[in-house]
Symmetry: C3
Subunit: 139 residues, 3 copies
């Protein structure tokens, strides 16, 4: 059995931002030398998400509006977490909506994705350097 670990770094300019990372995950799979296996991709942060969806910028806008509607930032005082001095309770909820991690199949040495499947990092409390963990096992 082989295993491989890599951290992908991202820096977002906005509080909420979606970053396509399909190619960087694909590159990690190539470096791993794994032909058949599983590839876990997760943020190492608790206000961010790694998810699979369409590479279409209108949809990212929809994700931003939709998560804001279901878990609004304001009023900050509606969340008990914000009594700690944070103002990011909504980011924890938004990340929960979008999911923490994705597990992807590796077949013939490449990500085994459907035609329109792309991998994204979704940031909900950004403007800082963040890390994404890629862990691959297989043979």
């Amino acid at each position: 059995m082989k295993s491989y670990r890599e951290e992908i770094r991202v820096h977002t300019k906005r509080t909420i931002e979606f970053v396509r990372i399909t190619d960087r995950v694909r590159e990690a799979v190539r470096k791993s030398g794994v032909n058949e296996g599983l590839c876990l991709v997760n943020p190492m942060h608790i206000t961010a998400s790694v998810f699979v969806n369409d590479n279409e910028s209108g949809l990212w806008h929809d994700f931003e509006q939709w998560t804001e509607r279901l878990a609004p930032h304001e009023p900050i005082s509606q969340y008990r977490h914000n009594l700690t001095g944070e103002d990011n309770a909504d980011a924890h909820l938004k990340r929960t909506l979008m999911g923490r991690e994705t597990t992807l199949a590796i077949t013939n040495g490449d990500l085994d994705l459907g035609t329109w499947e792309e991998v994204f990092y979704g940031e909900f409390d950004g403007r800082r350097d963040k890390r994404i963990l890629v862990k691959i096992i297989g043979e």
Copy 2:
């Protein structure tokens, strides 16, 4: 280490439909010859979900109503994704609510599920042939 890959095909008659696939995933596990391992099940499409829940038809109705309440189809113009000519932005959001994939344990050559756990394919933009990926690794 062994690995196994299979595509399960489904054809839904309605736009939103839930299909129980536990037995077909179980059959893939048997064919894999894996006794101890992990089994990833994911749709190869971005408007569908694979999830684990109760095999009870009233609940599927509740899932349909609930996802429609949290991510309504109409008005189509509320979603920027639909400016591309699509009308399925809500299906991308509904799939996000239900989750893309599930990872299941394999123990003693079978799915290691709790008493009431069943595996479902949830379609949110149906009436077409769709594919579900099953990827198994273990020994």
Copy 3:
């Protein structure tokens, strides 16, 4: 390849309750003897969730209020599932919001978590003994 399976038992006193299980999962990883691999953690029940987030009690309160807002318990008659004699349809939806399972990386014989990542069991239909499955594969 090594594999390891363990069931973690929890007993919640309230209907909705969050239990930190990071240390118990970590202990399972140690017992497995796996240095590099993947660790799946999932409830064996369909009204509960295993998820990763912040170890901050205000946030658990926010999760409870937020899931109740998006999937309210009352009126019980709004859910078709409850026609079966159950009153827990909302617990199935709340668990869906929070996600069923998490897959975690194992590196150097330990859970490979970000600084603030902690593992939780979220119960939405509690006051009974419940089981959490930990399945580890790797080498």
